[in-house]
Symmetry: C2
């Protein structure tokens, strides 16, 4: 198998509006404005801030924008163009999805959310024909069960240079995982599944999309693309 | 003056809905949905596609999303954190705006468009107190009139490595300009104002946000940040 960069964006703030707040007035109102049923709508903090007040772990939820910009940064790259990157992400409920590297993701945020709503309901998009994004595992444990291993970028991991970590991921075949949430830490169950964890760039709290873009670029440099 | 990276995103697809289509049914309908008057709304191809049919140069217009993601990629960086980047962009009407490097840009696309609508009307945001984004020139000619010079990243420029071009911009003090439009070429009036123009990464048609993120990273490497 050719050497590739394999990235997974973990614990992203992507989910449908959860059952418990579907009757909240703010949810009902915004769903109506978009012509959707509450349960067909992606939870979005900028629309549902008040409704989310009582949700557990709310600081990690309702942030599909982070996933959107991160995926745009990964897919619009010479590395993706050359087919040398494998891209996965995890939704808030724990499922793992693969994104075909040729996917032309909607640049528009509303359309992206529409596509993600369809993906979370159907498990794949488009619903017929060759899928561009599809569910590959019900959880991180199942995803890693073939023994491929996971290297985590983690603010409390061992100090390392990003170049070194990306090279290690590519040459070892271990997936490179980064957090797709705005703040807070990985779940313990995620940390336990990582074989190695590194802090890069001196532990600066970079946004997921910034880190994703930089990982791809280092990957191009290591694999001689671009 | 300390050495800094100076970036300007040129000819971005950012403007208020122009007068000539403010009575188009699609514009009236979408404005109503957002509770705005048509002239207070940012032109957005994903909302106003049909209404834009007769607009001249429509392939360059109604793409505030490109500017949004490009600015997010620039501002969320160690370089911006250290105050070593100066960021400017040009709206479709030709004006140049500066973005304070400490600006926490709205991550949400709708909020970003709201802020940009206010900026285009008022010439600055916020309207009172120290501005975070403000108009610095009515056009590119005025912007460059102090003799600072412009280096353009252009698909038909001379072949060069991005690292070399960024270093040249930093050490010469010339602004580094990139296109903020989805396709088509720079205006002749823009090309004429550039002292130098380079094609990077073998002329691959990279998105503005990808290029912006990479420029910043190269800047960090050159200036020893991160």
């Amino acid at each position: 198998m050719a050497q590739k960069l394999r990235i997974v964006i973990l614990e992203s703030g992507l989910e449908l509006v959860p059952e418990q707040i579907r009757r909240h007035p703010q949810v009902v109102r915004t769903a109506k404005r978009y012509g959707l049923k509450p349960g067909e709508m992606i939870l979005d903090k900028s629309l549902h801030y008040n409704a989310m007040f009582e949700l557990p772990q709310k600081w990690k939820r309702g942030r599909p924008d982070i996933l959107h910009v991160s995926l745009l940064n990964i897919l619009d790259s010479p590395l993706a163009e050359e087919g040398l990157v494998e891209v996965y992400f995890q939704s808030f409920d724990g499922r793992i999805f693969q994104v075909d590297h040729t996917t032309r993701l909607p640049k528009n945020y509303e359309r992206f959310k529409g596509l993600m709503a369809q993906l979370l309901r159907e498990g794949r998009v488009p619903p017929r024909g060759d899928p561009l994004i599809w569910e590959v595992a019900r959880g991180l444990g199942e995803f890693l069960s073939d023994g491929k291993g996971l290297i985590l970028l983690w603010e409390r991991g061992r100090d390392a240079r990003l170049e070194w970590v990306v090279a290690r991921s590519i040459y070892s075949g271990m997936m490179l995982g980064l957090g797709g949430f705005p703040r807070g830490d990985f779940k313990k169950s995620t940390l336990r599944k990582a074989r190695e964890a590194y802090k890069v760039m001196g532990g600066r709290p970079l946004k997921a999309w910034t880190l994703a873009g930089r990982i791809v670029w280092v990957g191009e440099w290591i694999l001689g693309v671009g």
